[in-house]
Each structure stands twice: as structure tokens, then as C-alpha cells.
């Protein structure tokens, strides 16, 4: 090289850690192995990372999400809804909502998709060991909670009471109905409610907060000492739920919520998910309620 020539410095591509530049657009190719229609709007997609070693290396925590990519169609964040024990066998519960998700509803088994992740923070399940957990979900919010439920099932002895409070608009919108008996069989309390009942509906009617109220009333006054709450659903819902729990003295640090924001990169660069200047994709989507309270315009 002659004097005064500047040498080209390639970007270091070695290493697969979070800190290597190559981690940025690293996509695992996965194949859709089954598609299961849950409701008229939601499908459950099971997919498997094709490369066996990548599949093994893929581990995540309940609450974390992946970016799912269909080349030329789009990429979007989805919470992993399957059990963390299943590694690169991933289940996503996806609602038809826009360009990518509508296209996805037309693809078949065998379709190859791109997966980036796992991304974001998860629910701190280990911290909750030895306690009661209250899982409160509204609508599609059940998707990430299902990973927690699987975790609780797989580690049932590590928790005392496990209760799910789950509300949907209409009976036809309940997700994962085929699993309810199985959950109950593992001694998980399942309390479901609808806002708009139909003729066949026999269960409770109303908001999740109504059921929650009943459950809390049945618990002793010291319930806040040994309970953790995980809340996921539309912003209005978790605002009500969390303030209700706060009133019952549950510390804000023991309530976890998952925030939803627009995301493009999932890696703290595109800024689309920023609240204030907190990247929901990096610091979240799972936050304790205290942190959320301190985020301007989070809810």
C-alpha cells in the first residue's frame, strides 16, 4: 500500500453476542411447521429455526419478543407465546392487523420466515419463585402471558397460587380455549369474563377488574407480601388493574406490565418505540409498574 493510502477497515463480523455489529441484522431462518386458527382474527403459528445449532442456541424468557420478517412484505414484533423450554421451536399468536399480519394469514405450512431475537426484557419469573402469581390479561395480552403460564406449569412446585384473570370482548374471541382444561389440571385458577356475552355464554360478564376484585377480596390482607402480578392488555386495562392493585398495597415493583409501541428495529436504533427516551424494545417491553409511572406519556 502506497503512502497516504487509507486502508479499508471491514466491520468486525466475528462473535454473535449482542455487542457484535453482526448481531444487528442477524436473522434466523425458520420454517412454519403448523398454523392453527384460534379465532377469526388470530392464528397460532408454530415455527422452527431451521439450523439445528441455531435452534439449540435460541433461548428466551417469557415476555420477550422476536421480530418476524417476511421478505418484501415486512417485519414486526411479536411476543413469544410458547414455553421457554422449547428453544428454537417458537409459537407466535398473531392477530391480523396490517400489511405483514394479513399476508401471514395467507401463507401455508413450510413457508420460510426470518426471525430476529429474542429481544427485549422478559418477566422475571425466577424472582417470583415461592410466591403467588396473578396473571391478568385482556384480549391479545394473553399471548405473552401464555409463555408465563407454560413456565408456571413446567415449574408448578415453585409457585403457590397461580391465577389467571382473562377478559375478552366476546366469547368467540377467547384464545387458546383448548388449553384451559389442561391449565386447570395443573392447579392453575382460570377466571374468564366477557364484556358482551352471547346466548351460549354462562360465565361472568364484565371487565377483568370485576373478577380481580373478587379474587383480591378472597385473599388475606397480607396478600401483597407474597404476590406478584403480571398484567398485559390494552393500556386502559392495565391502568385500571394496576391502580386497583396499588390500592391493595401491592408494591409497584411487584407488578409487571408489557408495553406496546411501534417498532422497526427492536434494537434501540430506530427510536420508534421511545417513550420519553426509553427504548421500549431494549428496556422493555416488560417493565415494573413503578418504572412505567415514571415514563412520561407511557400510558
Amino acid at each position: 500500500m502506497s503512502e497516504g493510502m487509507v486502508e479499508f477497515r471491514p466491520v468486525n463480523n466475528k462473535g454473535l453476542g449482542k455487542n457484535a455489529p453482526s448481531a444487528f441484522e442477524r436473522t434466523f431462518k425458520a420454517e412454519i411447521t403448523s398454523i392453527h386458527q384460534l379465532t377469526s382474527m388470530e392464528n397460532l403459528y408454530r415455527m422452527q429455526i431451521i439450523d439445528p445449532s441455531e435452534r439449540k442456541g435460541f433461548s428466551f424468557e417469557p415476555g420477550q419478543f422476536v421480530m418476524l420478517e417476511l421478505p418484501g412484505i415486512g417485519e414486526a414484533p411479536f411476543s413469544i407465546t410458547s414455553s421457554p423450554l422449547r428453544h428454537g421451536d417458537i409459537e407466535l399468536c398473531i392477530r391480523k392487523a396490517g400489511s405483514l399480519t394479513n399476508f401471514l394469514s395467507r401463507v401455508g405450512r413450510g413457508t420460510r420466515v426470518g426471525i430476529r431475537g429474542p429481544l427485549g426484557t422478559g418477566f422475571p419469573m425466577e424472582k417470583m419463585h415461592g410466591n403467588d402469581i396473578l396473571l391478568i390479561a385482556g384480549g391479545l395480552g394473553l399471548a405473552p402471558l401464555r409463555a408465563c403460564i407454560s413456565y408456571a406449569q413446567d415449574n408448578r412446585s415453585r409457585f403457590h397460587n397461580v391465577d389467571i384473570v382473562y377478559g375478552a370482548k366476546e366469547p368467540s374471541q377467547f384464545l387458546f380455549t383448548y388449553q384451559y382444561d389442561w391449565w386447570r389440571a395443573d392447579d392453575i385458577g382460570l377466571h374468564i369474563t366477557v364484556e358482551k356475552p352471547d346466548d351460549s355464554w354462562k360465565g361472568p360478564v364484565g371487565m377483568t377488574t370485576g373478577i380481580l376484585d373478587q379474587i383480591l377480596a378472597s385473599r388475606g390482607s397480607s396478600f401483597h407480601e407474597n404476590t406478584y402480578a403480571i398484567v398485559c392488555g390494552p393500556p386502559v386495562m392495565f391502568k385500571f388493574v394496576c391502580s386497583m392493585l396499588t390500592q391493595k398495597n401491592l408494591p409497584m415493583q411487584k407488578m409487571f406490565v408489557s408495553l406496546e409501541r411501534r417498532m422497526q428495529c427492536g434494537m434501540g436504533k430506530c427510536c420508534r418505540c421511545n417513550v420519553g427516551s426509553t427504548y421500549i424494545c431494549l428496556k422493555g417491553p416488560v417493565f415494573d409498574y413503578w418504572t412505567v409511572m415514571n415514563l412520561k406519556e407511557a400510558i
Binding site: 417476511l70 421478505p71 399476508f103 395467507r106 401455508g108 413450510g110
Partner: protein
């Protein structure tokens, strides 16, 4: 829609039958399709053109997508458009005339059709109505903005229809594209520009030529018209000039009508 035999990500790709139709217009938007020299073959692999009077003899009433250019200015056009609507699965308004009335709608500002006819045709009997965009007459499924439309945009729409992907337009104004192209802002040059309120997607075509935007693509989502007027006035650009641009292609008619009314109140 016909299956093309191809798939995209395993999903069958359709090869829709398309027709091009024109009403009162310069037919420039259709011409943009013929102007596809470099991509025409790929375009024709995606769609089957069954109706394109400007380019071919022979027509068919069997089509999935109708690309309709031009505005509606005569009763017979209403009938023809309705017939097209009843046959097409998807009706696409092609260009500013179809979307907003285009330059043709400038005659509406006189609110005096007999005078308009008299000016051009003397006493002769000529039929003409108030100029209307397509969506005033039939349901329009998609709009492709611009005077003229950009062929890249039409191609993108057609590709998306073929593979069944949703079509989204920029909601932001032309300034975004203008800055990204590093154009000199027309206001720096002392000229007027509607870029801050006009829907992007043209690639800041006019500002890229150091010519101000005339708003041919109509308003962006939630345009700040008050500020637009204010900033033009601060820079000594006359209300008339603002009006000229706002009303030129019809996309801003809601605002230009108001401005015209305001101005005539000031100096009746």
C-alpha cells in the same frame, strides 16, 4: 383473478386482467404506463392488459382491475364509469384528474357553466357539467395521486396487488423527500412551494427542479394549512399566488374554496 402460476413465499400470485380507461384528461397518466420502456415486459408479466384503447385495438368487458384516468364532466361519462365500476373488482383512480378533478375542475370556480361554454364555444350547444372526481360518482378502491402519476408508484401498486400485499402511501408531506434529496428549499430561493402540506410520494419532483410544488398530489395527512398560509404571507407571497396553487389540481379544494371566499370578502 387469474392465477399466474407463480408463487411468492408460497402464496399464489395472481395475474389480474386490467383495463385502462380514460375520461376527461390529457391521457398523460396512461402514457406514463407506455413510458415504462425499461420495465414494460416485467409489468406485462404481472398483469394481463385487456383494455387499453390508447395502445391497443380490441376490448374486453372482463377485467379485474380498472385503472381509470380523468374526471367526470358529462352525463354520458357517469354511465360509462358506472358500467366500469360494475365490472371491475378493483377500481383505481389514476392521477389527479381522477382523484380530485385535476386542472379540469378549475372551471368549477366560476360557478357559471353557461358563461364557461359561451367563452369557448360561443352559442353552440355543448354538453358539460360541474367537474367531479371519480369518487363523487362511484366507490373508488385505490387512488394513485399525481399529475402525472409516477410510473414507479403504479408499478408498486400493481406488484402489491399481484402478490396480495396491502398498499400504503406516505402520510407525510413532500418536504421529507425534498430534504432527503438535498434540494435547495424553494423558500430559500424566494419562491413559493406547497411541499409542506402536500402528500409525498412523488420524490419531490418539482422542488428537485427548483420549481415549487403545486400540490398535485393533494394534502398530506393533517396538513397545517393555517401555518402554510402564514408562512407564505410572511415571505411576501400574495394570497392570489397561494390560491393559484391550492386550487390548481383540486386536491386542496376544501381549503382553496375557503380562501377564495375569504379573499372575495376582503375585496368584493
Amino acid at each position: 383473478m387469474l392465477n399466474s402460476g407463480r408463487t411468492y413465499l408460497g402464496v399464489p400470485v395472481s395475474r389480474p386482467k386490467v383495463g385502462f380507461f380514460d375520461f376527461s384528461s390529457c391521457e398523460g397518466c396512461q402514457l406514463q404506463m407506455v413510458n415504462n420502456e425499461s420495465t414494460l415486459l416485467d409489468f406485462l408479466a404481472l398483469v394481463q392488459i385487456v383494455n387499453f384503447r390508447e395502445a391497443m385495438t380490441g376490448e374486453s368487458d372482463d377485467y379485474d382491475i380498472a385503472f381509470v384516468e380523468g374526471s367526470i364532466t358529462r352525463p354520458d361519462e357517469v354511465d360509462r364509469l358506472q358500467a366500469i365500476r360494475s365490472r371491475a373488482k378493483v377500481l383505481v383512480a389514476l392521477g389527479s384528474c381522477a382523484c380530485f378533478g385535476g386542472v379540469n375542475q378549475l372551471k368549477n370556480r366560476f360557478r357559471d357553466l353557461p358563461w364557461v361554454k359561451e367563452t369557448v364555444y360561443g352559442g353552440a350547444a355543448v354538453e358539460t357539467d360541474v367537474v367531479r372526481p371519480l369518487h363523487d360518482v362511484v366507490t373508488v378502491d385505490l387512488m394513485i395521486y399525481g399529475c402525472p402519476v409516477r410510473k414507479e408508484e403504479v408499478e408498486k401498486v400493481v406488484t402489491n396487488i399481484a402478490i396480495g400485499k396491502e398498499i400504503a402511501y406516505p402520510k407525510y408531506p413532500v418536504c421529507m423527500e425534498c430534504k432527503a434529496n438535498e434540494n435547495i428549499c424553494l423558500f430559500d430561493l424566494g419562491e413559493a412551494c406547497l411541499g409542506p402540506v402536500t402528500r409525498a410520494g412523488c420524490g419531490a419532483w418539482c422542488p428537485g427542479s427548483r420549481a415549487g410544488c403545486w400540490g398535485c398530489r393533494g394534502p398530506a395527512d393533517d396538513p397545517n394549512m393555517e401555518q402554510m398560509k402564514r408562512l407564505m404571507q410572511e415571505r411576501g407571497i400574495s394570497e392570489e399566488m397561494i390560491l393559484d396553487r391550492l386550487e390548481c389540481f383540486g386536491g386542496f379544494c376544501e381549503f382553496s374554496d375557503a380562501l377564495r371566499a375569504e379573499m372575495s370578502k376582503e375585496n368584493p
